[in-house]
Amino acid sequence: MRRNWDAIWMVARREFIDQFRDWRIVAPMVLLMALFPFVADDTTQDSIQFMGRFGGELILERLVPFVILVIGFFPLSFTLVVALESFVGEKERGTIEPILSSPLDDHQIYLGKLLVGITTPLVFSFFSITIYLILITRRDVAFPSPYLLALVLLLTFAHAVLMVSSAIVISVQATTVRAANLLASFVVVPVAFLLQGETALIFWGNESVLWYAIVGVTLLSALIVRLGVSHFRREYLLGREIDTFNLKQMGRVFIGRFVGNAESIRDWYAFELPETLKQLKKPLALVTLLGVAAIVASYLWVVVNVPAFLDISPEITDRIKTLVNENLTDFEDLSTQMPVPVLFYHNARAVVIMLLLGIVSFGTLGVTLFLVNMGLVGGVLGGASLLGVSPWLLFAAGILPHGIFELSAVFLSVSATLKAGALLVTPQQDKSLGELLLVALADWFRVFIGVALPLLAVAAVVEVFVTPQLLKMVVPYF
């Protein structure tokens, strides 16, 4: 164990020192990282004054954690190159072979690179943050509490781990440094979005909500590291091909997997698709469980907590009911407001977004989005119940008719997303990561095209033509 750590540390240390020997890289970096906090400090101050002039109340205390988060993120995105080129750079310079011929284990090399990839950005991040913290002591503002500060620093740490672990996966798989750098935005952009979400949490939520973000990001990073280590092959790093992006070959792998041995569409529905669906049993069970749990939890939360915020007196309930009734007469023109193809397109798009989020996160973000949607359903039912409407009735009339089709489609797609994610983190001897990704996508599209799209089409028709009629029938009983 000790020797193991020594070896990892040895690999990381050499590289760390190596980087800081090149002052042409270090000097501008230090300068940039030192200047950025000043800029950020001035900008926040300006915006507070600007808002103040229009009567807006932007409070610096609320802003500080957010600014720290951004200041921490900025150096991460700049120094990501360290991780991005960690393997492919050594491959290009030919320095990797002596290391690969040495008795170091795969995971020692990998984790050593990971360590240095994380340390370098963090050194700059924390350097920037420290300068900023010194700057705000001059401002007329309370210093963030140690607890909040610790949370934000932890979150920055988690971001670094997430970005670097993804960048290293890219570095192992990329054929050239240039290709690796081009792929960098696939890491930076999602994390930038994540940062926005977290900012929202800081502004509106309780600080402790940040723990969820920290734990979530850390888990995701762990999955990525696992993916990286399990797909690490010394052979890849000696490969010769340069920037080959073989579309034809990729197309063959994808279509080969999608079509399978089917000779006709009937064949495909009879033999190939069921094969894929069979493999979805476990994920489907999990997704169903999670989905139902999300509906129930959100329903209960609304029923228990909302009355405390809102004063639901009988007059108000009546007013809302009248409002709803009036609006329900508009159901007639629903088909003109929301034609079937548009509704279908919206739903299909939502499913694809879940896939895209799922692909970059081994299924987890896709499932999260799914749970948010299920939570909304639960919330609406909970709201209905607060208004004195039977949630069962509402569910049966307003959701079930089209929901049978729509939810089946969504549940199946999300299960397929989860399955694809699981496939990616499972070590495979004979397939490269790229091939594996294509196979996972092909499987997903089997479910999407074969089952989900037809179901969504039916659901859209039902939702536009049947559900409103049913709702109108039951509204009098509300």
Partner: protein, 312 residues
């Protein structure tokens, strides 16, 4: 010790880079692996260090199987990779120290060993300079020093002297010869035939991934070039038509001032042949075995492999 059996490698693009290579190198032996660029030398070496998994066949190096015990193999093998692969921002002594650590040497051993190697290869003065400032030959010597840091029992040297000046390659040759006498097992990939001839006792010629020829150097000469030839040189043009050849000798070729003989059993035949020449009062200035170079063996073998005629 290195033993391979039917060792083969097919790359992703379905290309067989190495096919059915069977070799055997014992401690104290040097095998020169000869072949054109792209013949499969580097690929073979990489399989022997467990960097590439063989598609077919097996190999044992230093007593370990390449597929089952890669780590043990890497511990016992020193490799000079085709590209030197130095970290150019590290100085020579730092670099050797780093690899010493990787191979688990303690601080004292590392210091002693790296000083010895740097001095030996004439890098002592440059030891504290970054290797990025070294000349090509110096870089290659440092890389060779790296492969020797942990005193490996098996050495795989992929074109060890390709960038060196004559003095340096001499140094490297001497070191390799010294290593052989301390019972190391050594494979050298090269296309420097003179060097291979000077060092190696065994030769394997690889062409498009396949071994064309494999054996002890003298035996290969015999096998490829036929029996040894002897040459008599004369001071002036001399008519040898009256020469009565002893049994077992035949004339291979003749010119005005020389005569070449093909002789199966020189110990028996040569004394009689010299006497016959002397009795003709031939103005003999020398009588010697015609030197035969590895180059001839190599070129003839390659020509045959490509279906071309070989002009000696």
């Amino acid at each position: 010790m290195i033993e391979t059996n039917d060792l083969s490698k097919q790359f992703n693009n379905n290309f067989w880079a190495v096919q059915g290579v069977t070799l055997n190198v014992q401690p104290g032996q040097i095998l020169a692996l000869l072949g054109q660029n792209g013949a499969g030398k580097t690929t073979t070496v990489r399989m022997l260090t467990a960097l590439l998994a063989p598609t077919r066949g097996s190999a044992r190096v230093a007593g370990f199987d390449v597929t089952k015990n890669p780590k043990e193999i890497r511990m016992n093998v020193g490799v000079l990779t085709e590209q030197h692969g130095l970290y150019l921002r590290m100085s020579g002594d730092e670099y050797l120290d780093y690899f010493g650590k990787i191979y688990g040497l303690d601080a004292q051993a590392r210091a002693v060993r790296s000083k010895y190697l740097l001095d030996y290869f004439g890098l002592g003065e440059a030891a504290r300079r970054r290797s990025g400032e070294y000349s090509k030959g110096m870089k290659q010597k440092l890389a060779l020093a790296r492969s020797l840091m942990h005193n490996p029992s098996v050495l795989l040297l992929d074109e060890p002297t390709s960038a060196m000046d004559p003095e340096s390659s001499r140094l490297v040759r001497d070191e390799i010869a010294r290593l052989r006498s301390s019972q190391r097992t050594i494979i050298i990939c090269t296309h420097n035939l003179a060097e291979a001839e000077a060092l190696a006792d065994h030769i394997a010629i690889i062409y498009r991934g396949k071994i064309l020829l494999n054996g002890a150097l003298d035996e290969l000469k015999q096998r490829v070039l036929g029996p040894v030839e002897y040459e008599a040189r004369f001071a002036d043009a001399f008519d040898t038509s009256g020469l009565s050849l002893p049994a077992g000798a035949e004339v291979a070729s003749r010119s005005e001032t020389s005569l070449k003989f093909r002789i199966e059993a020189p110990q028996v035949v040569n004394p009689g042949l010299v006497r016959a020449l002397a009795s003709m009062n031939a103005p003999l200035i020398s009588f010697h075995e015609v030197p035969r170079k590895l180059e001839q063996v190599y070129l003839k073998t390659m020509a045959e492999a490509q279906g071309l005629a070989y002009a000696a």
